[in-house]
Structures are given as structure tokens and as C-alpha cells.
Amino acid sequence: MHNTNYIIRFVLIMTVIVAFVLSMMYTGLKSVHQTNEAVYNKKAILSAVAAQLGKNISKLSNAEVENIFNTQIEQKVLDMSGNELTPEQIKSATGGVASTADKIDMGKEMKKPEADRLLPLYIFKASDGKVYNIISVRGKGLWDEIWGNVALESDWKTIAGVSFDHKGETPGLGAEIKDNPTWVSQFTGKKIYADDGSFTSVRIIKSGAKDPVHEVDGISGATITANGVDEMLERGLKYYEPYIMKNKKS
């Protein structure tokens, strides 16, 4: 039997050693973690223009992703009334956390009142000279948050590609919004404005799409996730409408 004094000493020394080892490791790896996280988010943005980029996004190295971001992407941040913000304004709006679009935490933005949210916008210049506008949307799926990036062609009307991701949708069902390339590819070529110029979004139809311009098929067995994507697109795309109105060539 050990006495109380020994037990207290043993536990204290053990705690100090463990705390030291873990904090060393955490500090040592912190920069790697941050790079990984930034590259992961940037790859999600690039996935929306994967076809135009002509590369397998998941196989890109960290340096290649940074290179594409530095040379082919222009980042902008908008407010809800469609004004471009300067880096100083972005800093003050995020409390000094972000000065460029890729540093904006969409999860945090969702918790703000609607009028105060910041909207990231990425302008991608493809190697053939075409320009694509990538916007970010976020909403709720069945179990947890879902989010995505939508690439619009330079007419601000036609979808050039999308990518979705989720926190905890069911693999094989709701997770198909990320994993199934065929489902995702349905969005390409769809239009978010009707012929008369009114905003329509892209609807996800459970029983099968009938309108070839504004509708895509749902996922069987994942109705609630698909409805979440539908709601996220409609609300998220509408956020950008003031800016689109200012920039759209009629």
C-alpha cells in the first residue's frame, strides 16, 4: 500500500510529464495542421471548377493548390448589400481573424444575424481565359451542417460546377452529395435565373427532374439531405443577388 503523500506526488509528476509531451507535440504540429486545414478548404473551392481546371483535385499537392490560388484566383469579400469590402473592413468585421475570403469561417458567419454576414467570392481565371465566379453556401442536412461551393459562368446565370461537403451525413445516402460525382455533375449547365431575369435557384426534385434548366434529380433514401441542399442553394445564392445585379451584363 502506498501512502497518500506518494500518490499525490505520483499523480502530479505524471500530469506534468503528460502535459509537457502533449503541449510540445501540439505546438510543434500546429503549423502543419493549419496548412492542412487551409489546403483542405481550398481544395473544396477548387472542386467546383474541377472540370475547367482539368485536374484531379484530391491528388493535388499542397504547393500546387497554393500555386493555383495565388496565380488563378482572385478573392473578394462582399457584404449582404452587394458591396465589395476592403481588407481593412474585412478585418474589422471578423475581429481581426481574416483579411481574405479563404480565411472566412462560414460556420461563424451562419450564426450572425443575416444582415451582418460576409460572403466570400472567388474569381477563377481558367487557362483558356474564361472567368468563373465561385460562391460559397452553407446550410443544414439531416444530421449536421452541409456546405458547398457553386461556380457560375461569367454571365452569373449558368452553373459551371458545384462541390458539396457535409459534417455527418449517412455514408451511401446523404453523403452521396459529396461522394457521387454523377449526382454532382447534374448541376452543371443549370441556370439560376429564369428567362425573364427573375431569380429561381435550382430545385432538387425527389420524383425526378422535369425542367431541364432549373431542376435536378433527388437522391433516393436521402430526401432530407437533398431538401437541405435545395434550401441551402436557394438561400445561399440569393445572398449574392445584390452583387450579381450590379455586375451582370444584361
Partner: protein, 232 residues
């Protein structure tokens, strides 16, 4: 006073004889932590939807069981009996955090997919069970081997279950398409590819199927290994 000089029992620490080999192979079959002892079921249900997740999880658990056994065994004479559980938990939690930080640095996408389940290795009954049952009473080298054996025993069942679930649930193995129609199956099209008659069984990717599959694996294991059948 002739017997004062008692010779230390001469034993090389790092032997790998029959007894040591048994420590590693026993948990793979006769004393498997999942199919025989039915421990660690919770994570076996959660991370077996895809084969690559199961493989990463198997490696992570093997690392944790091996090194927590090693460290606990090294400290076993010094650990006060009154707080041994807390000490064991601290050792396990430290190793799990090391695994988590390393995985986050090495493969961020897999880390994102496994999310909380790496952290939940701390509560895996196999790890704690081996510390209490083996590492507290045996030398570090044997405990280390016992940890490797139990980690692999857990991992092999995880991999078998994940292979069955991914093959029949998504028609692929390690994301490589094997059976069933192509990705178009999710749409209302009638796209046909080779072996396209197979419709992916969505039940296989849901949690209940892990229960059925583990149950079937236990049944097959007991039917095949006669030693496991109770004589009484």
C-alpha cells in the same frame, strides 16, 4: 549465510519464443477481443462503413493498445493501487491524443472522416481491459506483444466487417468499383454496367448492418474454430 547470494533469474527480456508468439496470435483467433470476448463493439459498428477508415482505425488502436500496455507495465510497480484506473486512463488518453495530432498532420481528409471516433479510442474497452488484465501483472515486453496482438485481433475483424459492408453497400473496395452499376445508380436512370444487376444494399451502410455482419462473423468463427464451442 550461504544462500545470501541468490542468483537473479537469468532471462533475456526480448525473447520471441513460443509463449511470446502465442501472445500475438492468440487474440487473432482463439481469444479475439471482438468475436470471442465481444469487447470494443461500439467503434466496430461506427467506423466499418468504408475499408480505408477501418484500416486507419485498426492501425490507431494497435498503436494505442501496444504502447499503453508497454507504459503501464513499465510503471506497474510504481502505480498506486488506489488510483490505478485514473493513471491508466491518463496513459491511454495521452496516446490517443498523440495519434489524433499525428493523423491530423499526416492525412487531413481521413482525419476529417473519422472525426470523433479517433478520440473515442479512449473509451474502447479492449484497451482498458488489457491494461487491467495483462499489463498490470506482466513484464513490459510481453505486455507490448499482448497489446499488438489484441490491436491486430480487433483490426482484423474491423477490416473483415468493413470489406463486407463496403462491397455490398457501395459496390466498391477502397473506393475501387467492383460490383454493381456505376455512380449513376443514385439517379433515376437505368444505367447498366458490368455486374450491373446488383443493386447496392443501402442497409449495409447503415449502423444496424454492422450488428448483423458482426453477428454472422462471430457465428462463422465459432463454427470454424471448434475450441470456442462450450463443451457444457
Amino acid at each position: 549465510m550461504a544462500e545470501v547470494k541468490v542468483a537473479e533469474p537469468k532471462e533475456s527480456i526480448f525473447t520471441f519464443g513460443k509463449a511470446e508468439r502465442k501472445l500475438v496470435t492468440d487474440p487473432l483467433n482463439d481469444n479475439n477481443p471482438i468475436t470471442v470476448q465481444v469487447l470494443g463493439i461500439c467503434s466496430a459498428l461506427a467506423v466499418t462503413t468504408l475499408l480505408n477508415k477501418a484500416i486507419v482505425m485498426a492501425i490507431a488502436v494497435t498503436f494505442v493498445t501496444a504502447f499503453s500496455n508497454l507504459f503501464t507495465s513499465m510503471l506497474r510497480t510504481g502505480i498506486p493501487k488506489q488510483v490505478r484506473m485514473i493513471v491508466q486512463l491518463v496513459i491511454i488518453a495521452t496516446l490517443v491524443t498523440i495519434v489524433e495530432l499525428t493523423l491530423k498532420a499526416v492525412n487531413y481528409p481521413i482525419y476529417k472522416e473519422l472525426s470523433v471516433f479517433i478520440g473515442l479510442i479512449i473509451t474502447n474497452c479492449i484497451v482498458m481491459g488489457r491494461l487491467e488484465a495483462y499489463a498490470m501483472a506482466n513484464n513490459p515486453w510481453k505486455s507490448f506483444l499482448d497489446g499488438i496482438g489484441n490491436g491486430l485481433g480487433y483490426g482484423i475483424i474491423l477490416i473483415i466487417v468493413a470489406a463486407i459492408r463496403e462491397l455490398f453497400g457501395k459496390g466498391s473496395l477502397l473506393d475501387f468499383k467492383i460490383i454493381g452499376p456505376t455512380a449513376d445508380y443514385v439517379l433515376n436512370t437505368s444505367e447498366i454496367s458490368w455486374l450491373g444487376w446488383y443493386a447496392n444494399n443501402n442497409l449495409m451502410v447503415l449502423f444496424p448492418s454492422a450488428m448483423f455482419v458482426i453477428g454472422i462473423v462471430i457465428w462463422v468463427h465459432r463454427a470454424w474454430n471448434k475450441k470456442l464451442v462450450d463443451i457444457s
